[in-house]
């Protein structure tokens, strides 16, 4: 198992290399360069100074040298300088990254907490009224755009009922590190996470439902029944485990998707995370930040697939590599 994981991580190296080349090429292909943003703030700068600065920053060097320098800096954790915020990208990201990861993890956890029981009920008691209700819910949630649903949630529970805070990730007055701080943080997290989770369940519910429906007529389930095993045990030992395989495979992609999905959530709930920053940076052409964020979400995708492979190999003996 350890060998498998190591080998799987080794496979990520060429993937990362290709990813970095792509991201770099895309950044180069964007109109303007690192100075364009700065230029917008000081329009009086003359062409000579600009040339000098370009030379100093190495922007006139051959592309491959620039690439190698970029990767070198990347490996040292140097993501460059944001010209809009006038601070290193690393500093800009560090606090927000934690926030985004926290929100993503909460959305993911809530999604699974809601979707798995519903999928189980729906698949086991197929065509019952409960099943119809659940399938109905999953279709409605599938058809609801996140940015509208999140707005409605914010309006109803944040403004009208006032049950939840309407923005930010934590109140200013609470002291960092105390228990109150964490409770407050969680309190800010709950509404956005719930909004994301409630309409993100359709994939898991439908997958699990159809897997259970497929699995419960398989031959090995008949074998289990012929052994005289009670129905509840047949579900827990035979049907569910086999039905969870595609859900496990799905998990990796969910992780990737959540970083994209957070853009809406974070913007609507003015939650200081990467998604919100991403949107801002694209609008303001803050090129070094965009590059860093694309790189991060690319990395998240790779980690997501790595995780699904590890989970799959843990639950399915057939794909374990000896």
């Amino acid at each position: 198992m350890l060998k498998f994981i190591l080998r799987r991580i080794m496979m990520m190296i060429p993937q990362l290399l290709i990813l970095s080349i792509l991201v770099f090429a895309l950044a180069k292909a964007m109109p303007g360069d690192a100075l364009t943003g700065q230029l917008a703030q000081s329009p009086k700068m003359d062409a000579n100074t600009l040339m000098e600065m370009r030379e100093k920053l190495g922007l006139n060097d051959p592309v491959h040298i620039q690439y190698v320098r970029w990767v070198k800096n990347l490996l040292h954790g140097d993501l460059g300088l944001s010209y809009i915020h006038q601070q290193p990208v690393t500093d800009l990201l560090s606090g927000r990254l934690a926030n985004t990861l926290l929100l993503s993890a909460c959305v993911l956890l809530l999604t699974y907490l809601i979707a798995i029981p519903l999928g189980l009920v729906s698949g086991r008691w197929q065509d019952s009224w409960a099943d119809k209700l659940i399938v109905g819910y999953s279709y409605v949630s599938f058809a609801t755009p996140l940015f509208i649903f999140a707005l409605v949630m914010l309006f109803v529970f944040g403004f009208k009922l006032g049950w939840f805070p309407t923005g930010g990730s934590v109140d200013i007055q609470v002291e960092k590190g105390t228990l109150d701080y964490y409770i407050n943080k969680f309190y800010h997290l709950l509404l956005p996470a719930l909004s994301g989770a409630l309409i993100g369940t359709v994939g898991i519910i439908q997958y699990l439902r159809s897997e259970i429906i497929d699995t419960k007529v398989k031959d090995f389930v008949k074998t289990a029944r012929a052994k005289g095993i009670p129905e509840s045990k047949i579900y827990s030992h035979h049907i569910l485990r086999n039905s969870f395989l595609p859900i496990a495979a799905f998990l990796g992609y969910e992780i990737t998707g959540l970083i994209g999905g957070s853009i809406f959530l974070e913007s609507i709930y003015s939650y200081p995370g990467l998604g919100q920053l991403f949107l801002q940076s694209i609008m303001q052409r803050d090129y070094s930040v965009v590059t860093a964020l694309v790189m991060i979400s690319g990395l998240a995708t790779l980690i997501g697939t790595l995780l699904s492979d590890i989970i799959l190999s843990a639950v399915d003996p057939r794909i374990r590599i000896e």
Partner: protein
């Protein structure tokens, strides 16, 4: 052989719901299986033999199936039991061997666990005892290195090995009856005979009754004590194996036997039964159900309400059409079979 049969099926009708109507796949079947006896049920695909096997185990989806008649196991009517009560019998007193060992095992569970699982519910043994018993079972069904195979997953074993595992599961709690639903169909010929040998050996050791569902007459000749030939949901002929191969009466039985390639006459054209078993919804429900496939026989040769008659002790045949039956290329009268 005790006189009290292990299994006694009386007038069993198994109907499946297709849209809004029920269609019988097994239609009025009665048979007995005694201790230490192998009863083979033969017929083409779709004749209802597997439906019969699954109904004994209560494995049909209840919402789509209607079961009528009686299935008495040691005198208890299995059809009258709740699932909970049935679970105390199946897997313990009745074991089942399935057709396809590739799909009959849970791919995510070690074979050792799968064999043990039935014991969890039927026998009160410690986990160590269960394990010992499982390894003993693996040895008994001819698995080399049982200690290692115990920890293997199904995909790591060959088809023949997996069928041995399925058999070990069926006999794990010493059943008095085994239902074997085409146990060798999915295996290649050499493995088939090994599995049949194993089954016979186990049957002799444990004195179980076996209901052997098969379409392979070679397997029947090798294994069975008595044979029931099924066509379109009904038993058309039933006799002990010697009588059946020696004096087959019903046109269907004779057609089946004619269709076996023979090593003695390799050049001869093989007999083919015309047509196919009609699909469930189009099954003939009146008269001799086989008549459409022996169209050259005059309609008047059939009975209107064919019943299973005992033509000699222990030999039952349905319909009277056997009396003047002949194959199309034979001269009438040349091949007259029959006793009366």
């Amino acid at each position: 052989m005790s006189n009290q049969p292990v299994l006694q099926i009386e007038n069993l009708r198994v109907s499946f719901r297709v849209h809004d109507a029920y269609y019988a796949a097994v239609d009025g079947v009665s048979l007995n299986v005694h201790k230490n006896e192998v009863l083979a049920v033969v017929g083409e695909s779709g004749c209802g033999k597997s439906a019969l096997a699954l109904s004994i185990m209560g494995l049909h989806p209840p919402a789509k199936t209607k079961l009528e008649g009686k299935i008495l196991f040691h005198g208890t009517d299995l059809l009258s039991l709740s699932v909970h009560e049935l679970n105390k019998i199946r897997g313990k007193d009745i074991g089942m061997i399935f057709q396809d060992p590739l799909t009959a095992l849970n791919p995510l569970m070690t074979v050792g666990r799968q064999i043990e699982e039935g014991m969890d519910f039927h026998l009160s043994l410690s986990s160590l005892e269960k394990r010992g018993r499982t390894i003993e079972l693996l040895e008994r069904v001819g698995i080399p290195n049982p200690n290692q195979v115990y920890h293997r997953y199904p995909h790591e074993l060959s088809g023949g090995m997996r069928q041995r595992i399925v058999i070990a599961m069926a006999i794990a709690c010493h059943p008095s009856l085994i239902i074997a639903d085409e146990p060798t169909t999915a295996l290649d010929v050499t493995i088939q005979s090994q599995i049949m040998d194993l089954l016979r050996e186990l049957q002799q050791q444990m004195n179980t009754g076996i209901v052997l569902i098969t379409h392979d007459l070679g397997v029947v000749a090798e294994m069975a004590d008595r044979v029931a030939v099924m066509y379109a949901g009904e038993i058309v002929e039933m006799a002990d194996v010697y009588t059946l191969f020696d004096r087959p009466l019903h046109p269907y039985t004779r057609s089946l036997l004619q269709s076996i390639p023979s090593a003695q006459h390799p050049k001869e054209r093989l007999h083919v039964i015309q047509g196919i078993v009609p699909p469930l919804q189009k099954l003939p429900r009146t008269g001799c159900r086989f008549r459409s496939r022996i169209g050259w026989i005059d309609e008047s040769e059939h009975e209107e309400q064919p019943i299973l008659r005992e033509v000699e002790p222990g030999h039952f045949v349905r319909c009277i059409c056997y009396k003047n039956f002949h194959f199309p290329h034979d001269h009438i009268g040349d091949m007259k079979y029959g006793i009366s």
